[in-house]
């Protein structure tokens, strides 16, 4: 009995020893696994290396106050972002003497995706030196060592050299306009092609007079700081004069207060020029609303109720162009439109009887005035057009040569010439 109990105890102790061995083995395995896991984690996200080649340079062709920070990210694979700090300005240091740096931006992964990174630092004082320091942000959120730049100071540029080609183009066009104005003054004969839409003004106003209905003139939805509105109001002068001569009622609902005032001036002057100042009715030229679709709602309703016999749309138009033109079409009005918004031209062409396309719209003012000075300016404009056509032809020829003789010396020369032209014209 005693021997049996001794063996049971021995067996139990042995079992406990075995369990202890297993437990120790499990703990050891867990420790090893944990160590390996930690080691793997550390290996996957090592401390990112610090930024290299940090430069701080003045942004060219600006009014000052802007510096550009450049850096190289040594290992984009272990970088998750970048922290940019700048030195405090004298005014900021006066308020807070303890701080030397202030964080200006914490950029994400995109900033370190490539080796070369840059950041535009704005609002920099132009009368004192500024420094920046950059730290690369690791994938685990740790920051690399900060790298500090040399001091830099933004400069104010007197001339934006990147816009030199445009300035030269403006000078060429302006000179050609002035030369043609001078030639026109000296009596040189000028031939300007007829613009059907402008010749149709008399017909449209005459039809409205015969039908005893109004003439509607819409000067676009932009303010007087838009050149299209000015061009539209110039045409309004001619339409108003014809309406005054025919004694037709002209209505001008406007979308802007200043346009209403300017339109009243134009129409009043046109009535004076027609010799019928007493027929001028200020109440026919009204301000409706600045809200685009509120204006459209008014015009649509007005057109359906009053059914004007002639509708003119001259100025800057956007989504409302087709709504207006289709409403005018549905009431059977003669419609003449003019705009320099390329995206709206197809709608006007589809729904109106006549359309002044782009440059015709701007030439209308000179065309309607009949003055030699102004007609000369249209001819001058043609020189600019010839210049553009020449550049397009040369560019097309060079690009074709470059494509046909790819790899050859002629093709390489043509390719570099095309690249130079692109650079010159800002392409």
């Amino acid at each position: 009995m005693q021997r049996r109990s001794t063996s049971v105890v021995r067996e139990s102790v042995r079992l406990l020893q075995r369990v202890g061995e297993y437990a120790a083995a499990c703990v050891s395995f867990a420790c090893v696994a944990m160590a390996l896991f930690v080691a793997r984690d550390v290996a996957a996200s090592p401390m990112p290396p610090a930024a290299e080649n940090l430069r701080l340079e003045d942004a060219p062709d600006d009014a000052g106050g802007v510096l550009v920070v450049f850096w190289k990210t040594p290992d984009p694979a272990v970088s998750a972002g970048v922290v940019i700090e700048r030195s405090l300005t004298a005014a900021e240091r006066a308020k807070n003497a303890d701080e030397l740096w202030i964080e200006v931006e914490r950029l994400g992964r995109d900033a370190v995706a490539g080796v070369d990174g840059s950041y535009v630092l704005k609002g920099v004082p132009i009368d004192e030196d500024t420094r920046v320091r950059v730290s690369i942000l690791g994938t685990d959120g740790e920051l690399s060592e900060f790298v500090e730049s040399a001091p830099a100071r933004p400069e104010v540029s007197l001339f934006a050299f990147k816009r030199l080609p445009l300035l030269l183009t403006v000078i060429v066009v302006s000179l050609s306009v002035l030369v043609w104005v001078a030639l026109a003054r000296s009596g040189r004969p000028l031939k300007i092609r007829r613009i059907a839409a402008l010749d149709a003004v008399d017909e449209a106003v005459g039809r409205a007079t015969e039908m005893g209905r109004a003439v509607l003139f819409v000067p676009g939805i932009q303010d007087m700081n838009d050149i299209q509105t000015i061009a539209g109001l110039t045409i309004l002068g001619r339409v108003a004069q014809t309406a005054a001569e025919y004694d037709a009622r002209l209505e001008v609902p406007t979308c802007r207060s200043i346009v209403m005032t300017a339109a009243r001036e134009q129409v009043q002057a046109a009535h004076h020029a027609a010799g019928r100042p007493e027929t001028y009715a200020e109440g026919n030229i009204n301000y409706i609303t600045d809200e685009q679709f509120g204006y459209v709602a008014y015009l649509s309703g007005h057109m359906m109720r009053e059914k004007p016999a002639a509708c003119f749309y001259m100025g800057a138009f956007y989504a409302e162009s087709l709504v207006l033109a289709e409403n005018g079409n549905s009431i059977g009005a003669i419609q003449i439109a003019g705009t320099a918004e390329p995206s709206q031209l197809p709608f006007f062409v589809a729904a109106c009887d006549y359309t002044l396309i782009g440059e015709e719209f701007f030439a209308a003012s000179a065309y309607l005035s009949g003055e030699r000075d102004q007609l000369g300016s249209i001819k001058g404009q043609d020189v600019g057009k010839a210049f553009a056509i020449g550049a397009i032809l040369i560019g097309t020829a060079l690009a074709t040569i470059a494509a046909l003789n790819e790899g050859g010396s002629l093709g390489m020369w043509a390719g570099s010439a095309v690249a130079s032209m692109r650079g010159f014209f800002g392409g």
């Binding site: 000052g64 934006a160 700081n225 109001l233 110039t234 005032t261 709602a297 030439a363 102004q374």
Partner: protein
């Protein structure tokens, strides 16, 4: 005389400053000043517009002309928005100046002005804009009638674009091998040819004309050759 000369001088000076500031960054602040002048003028002119709006609608109501009820609604809405907007009713207090009611923001729908903008004006505007779809359909129906050569061209182009925008375009042309001579007949190629060659070429031609027209018109105005936009005094 002065009525035309002084506005012409202001116009010329403003125009030259804007051109100068585009090419010379040092004068950028001058152009900002000129733009501020215009904004001040436009702000003051708004009083004229509002006065005109009141006069026209009050006259319509007093003479009981047809549709006078709409004028009444216009004036009530105008007055309500003016009161709510100027009093900043329900404005969200500003974080820096929470005690100053007028410093609050009206952008959110918590403010009366923001609420009216978001839940009254925006739906009405969207409704008007949505009508555009029907106008496009009606204009397209009329423009695409093959009555002459140009209309046939327009119809053909529109047909190609409509076809390649839908699944049928790909379904009908996917059998053409991409590396064959006829690959240009595949839907995506046809679309690219129309939009990137013909459309881009035409649009650029129009844009060049517009740019030259704008430059010449601006020059005529700045130099006083075209005075039609000025008061005839």
């Amino acid at each position: 005389m002065l009525q035309r000369t002084i506005p012409l001088l202001i116009l010329s000076a403003s125009g030259l400053i804007l051109i100068l500031s585009y090419f010379s960054p040092i004068t950028e602040t001058w152009s900002e000043q000129v733009v501020s002048w215009f904004n001040i003028l436009a702000g003051v002119a708004f009083v004229l517009g509002a006065g005109n709006l009141l006069a026209v609608n009050l006259e319509k109501i007093s003479s009981k002309r047809p549709g006078w009820a709409y004028s009444a609604i216009t004036l009530v809405s105008f007055g309500a928005m003016l009161v709510v907007g100027l009093s900043k009713w329900g404005a969200v207090p500003d974080a820096k100046h929470p005690d100053v009611h007028l410093a609050g923001s009206q952008d959110s729908t918590q403010a009366g002005y923001g609420w009216a903008y978001e839940y009254v004006l925006s739906p009405l505007t969207a409704t008007m804009f949505a009508l555009l779809a029907f106008y496009v359909a009606s204009a397209a129906f009329r423009a695409f009638r093959a009555k002459n050569f140009e209309a046939i061209l327009l119809l053909g182009t529109a047909f190609i674009i409509l076809l390649v925008q839908i699944a049928a375009g790909a379904f009908l042309t996917n059998w053409i091998p991409e590396d064959s001579f006829f690959a240009f007949l595949r839907a995506e190629s046809l679309k690219a040819i129309v939009t990137e060659v013909f459309q881009t070429a035409g649009m650029r031609a129009i844009l060049i004309g517009i740019a030259l027209g704008t430059a010449a018109t601006s020059l005529r105005l700045i130099l006083g050759i075209d005075r039609s936009a000025l008061s005839k005094g």
